[in-house]
Symmetry: C2
Subunit: 244 residues, 2 copies
């Protein structure tokens, strides 16, 4: 097989956060596959076919990329952020598992700046101690599991980053998550809302859990909860390196 | 104050994983401050003063960077990986907290590709579902807290990334961590050892917890533990997007 698939992270939005490794793969590609808004971030050029697709068709998209590679094409599957964090890399391997000879495919995963780390950098250093990353969407797991994870993560004293905190289809769940976090972590814990980080639409806010309202988040927001030691200094918020 | 401080992530080692944003800051800097092996990754040039320092002097180094900025210098504090993940960003804000006017300083945090995400990309997608990041060093927290976090994280079903898994000063602790993980997550759970990722010295191995030995890790290794659904496909390991 002469074709290949690279699953590449485009970072959070700012073009200066795309790695040289990802740019090289895009320059060498014949095909770009991905969710339409991410494909739109790749400039058109002669010899490059762009294949935008809808949200929630990750497996179809991954299978399409494998088919193209099998036909000799050089394919970049684009994700925003990092492809290994709630993005296309796992979907590609799920599609690969259905193939009779997985090792026949030339596959590379090219890391990118994931949303929570871009958001943390803009806020200060809220993830400067042990932390966890939780996808709050219940598309692919039961909501009860999410509630259980929130409680255990708070009991462990993790700072937390939440992806997909809230959507129109499930407006009440993030309100419930905030309730659980207030119970387990305490109302004075700091929580950060980072929307559209590193783009022109960026907005950042930091409040206590007592002050947090569900409508502070939408699907373009990464939410970062501090641990009990997380604090403000000047316009920044950070979590100290040490813990008691 | 005309000087500034940028805390920048150099990524895991491969020069192609340094962002353009970080390169621009290094090009504009008058001073580079950091742990000697990271400062050595920045090429010398006229007009650039390099200040290498030892390990474990993070607060002194951060305070030095603030002093230089106060004197009008343009300072880049370099970390490997991402500066916000077990690196210099939190130390800088700890030093800033001791200053009478924190908002007088021009400070930016410039994200980078952190070791666990570079390692995950090389391995496949082991962090493709909810996960946590734990620093296994007990320099800055009690070992009992680490044990408690490991147990709760396993009970929550997180995949886990471990930074600083093992050092000559504390050879027995990683063995104890593996024992706890075998108890809580089960002996068939996959565990990945990724050493010196994206450098010429890179080595990767994937075994079950039953097969894992403490000497598979050293201070240049990032260890990634899967969750109960993590599996192999061809030469890769990945965690499915869904959970039961």
């Amino acid at each position: 097989m002469t074709g290949w698939v690279a699953v590449a992270g485009l970072g959070p939005g700012d073009e200066r956060l795309i790695t040289a490794e990802v740019r090289e793969a895009l320059d060498a590609a014949t095909d770009v596959v991905g969710y339409a808004p991410y494909v739109a971030r790749v400039a058109p050029r002669d010899g490059l076919v762009r294949h935008p697709s809808d949200n929630r068709v990750e497996l179809d998209r991954a299978s399409h990329a494998l088919d193209l590679a099998a036909a000799g094409r050089r394919v970049v599957v684009v994700s925003s952020g990092d492809p290994g964090v709630f993005a296309m890399a796992s979907a590609l391997f799920e599609a690969l598992q259905a193939r009779p000879d997985p090792d026949a495919f030339d596959i590379r995963i090219l890391p990118g700046i994931t949303a929570m780390l871009a958001a943390a950098a803009r806020l200060g250093a809220p993830l400067g101690h042990d932390f966890c990353a939780i996808n709050l969407s219940d598309n692919l797991k039961p909501w009860e599991l999410i509630e259980r994870r929130l409680r255990l993560a708070a009991q462990a004293g993790f700072a937390m980053a939440f992806y997909n905190p809230r959507s129109a289809a499930r407006p009440h769940q993030f309100a419930r998550a905030l309730e659980i976090l207030r119970e387990e972590a305490g109302p004075q814990t700091l929580i950060c809302f980072a929307r559209a980080v590193t783009t022109e639409a960026e907005s950042l806010s930091v409040v206590t859990l007592a002050e947090a309202r569900p409508d502070m988040a939408d699907m373009r927001t990464v939410v970062i909860l501090g641990n009990r030691d997380t604090r403000r200094v000047g316009r920044f918020v950070y979590t100290p390196r040490s813990a008691r």
